[in-house]
Symmetry: C2
Subunit: 181 residues, 2 copies
DNA sequence: TACTTCGTTTAGTATGTACTAAACGCACAC
DNA sequence: GTGTGCGTTTAGTACATACTAAACGAAGTA
């Protein structure tokens, strides 16, 4: 294979590895996805070991994580014992799934945390000075709780976006050089 | 001070610490912000040492990181040598600043990375098989580059939101129990 | 049966990073 | 000058976590 193409793929793999880490994922996940994304054919684990530059154990673990996020898909082949994987090319779908898998539970946790703190401030029979402080706490906790609630709603909105709405957004943001997979 | 209020604050501090880590910040940052957010008066470093439960060095480092993100503000007092800090209560403003500070540079990097890989694929005089692969690489790289570009535009849009537009969004998302600071 | 060829799991290791503890520098007070 | 009260910086440490290497298991083949 042409050396420049290999170099391009290597560069891309490094780039996605970094992005992966930035978004809180293992960098091997980014590397594996990048390798699959730049392959016309599904790849087996051993091929990923070569291209992504990590050992088979790590490939095994991370490729399953990618599958849970809907970022890669297992492709079974008849008369073939090995597992082959290919990359999802619909990035908006990936965003939706990832938000659902990761952010959702964390938002819930955050909201619950605030609500619990709010409950604790509701103590009756406080001396006037403490009552004032309790009221202050309650105002602030309600405010941040409302903010988290809005973020949560925003994420929910995005998660329910269908293709029509995504196209609308894409048009809004301007579609320049993208083509299909 | 009332024990329940202390417990509520502790609970809230733990909650924000966790969210902070989830979003890729040191958990001390979340703890410090939480302590300041639940204080009617600005706090000095030593008070933050007590409330956030980390040493002065960590407070010093993280409170400055928070200031860079516009999440806390230094409040100077006449005839007072100590630094006092208070929390920003406008969360949309915080989101905007954080996006500007952190995501922006990372998006730029991602876009550049893809462009560079794209350049490397543009080698002339390839044998037909490689030329086919090169064309494939270019299609995929352009597609992901376009996606990153759209995300970038989205972030830019959010960053330029003024108060009017934020209110519009808030109305869209439903405003239930939030009150001013 | 024994021998491959896969993917998974586990035990150990390396790496990054946030933290602590302590030294430091600075400004003011005495 | 010496001392005190600040914030900052640094050297070292602890911790989380992603990875490697190797053992393991399962499923097919001789």
């Amino acid at each position: 294979m042409n050396e420049n193409l290999n170099a391009a793929r290597g560069h891309f793999i490094l780039g996605l590895s970094r992005i992966s880490r930035f978004w809180g994922f293992p960098k091997a996940m980014g590397a594996i996805f990048a390798a699959l994304y730049l392959s016309p054919e599904p790849l087996c684990l051993d091929e990923l070991v070569i291209q992504a530059g990590v050992t088979k154990g790590a490939i095994s673990t991370n490729v399953r994580a990618l599958e849970r996020l809907g970022m890669v898909h297992k492709k079974d082949r008849i008369g073939e014992r090995r597992d082959f994987y290919s990359a999802e090319t619909d990035f908006w779908k990936i965003v939706k799934t990832t938000l659902k898998e990761r952010e959702k539970s964390e938002f819930d946790h955050a909201l619950r945390s605030v609500d619990e703190a709010l409950l604790m401030t509701q103590t009756p029979d406080l001396p006037s000075e403490d009552a004032e402080l309790a009221a202050f706490y309650q105002r602030r906790l309600k405010a941040i709780g409302s903010f988290f609630g809005k973020l949560d709603k925003l994420v929910n909105m995005i998660m329910t976006f269908d293709d029509l709405r995504v196209s609308a957004i894409e048009r809004l943001l301007g579609t320049k050089g993208d083509e299909g997979p």
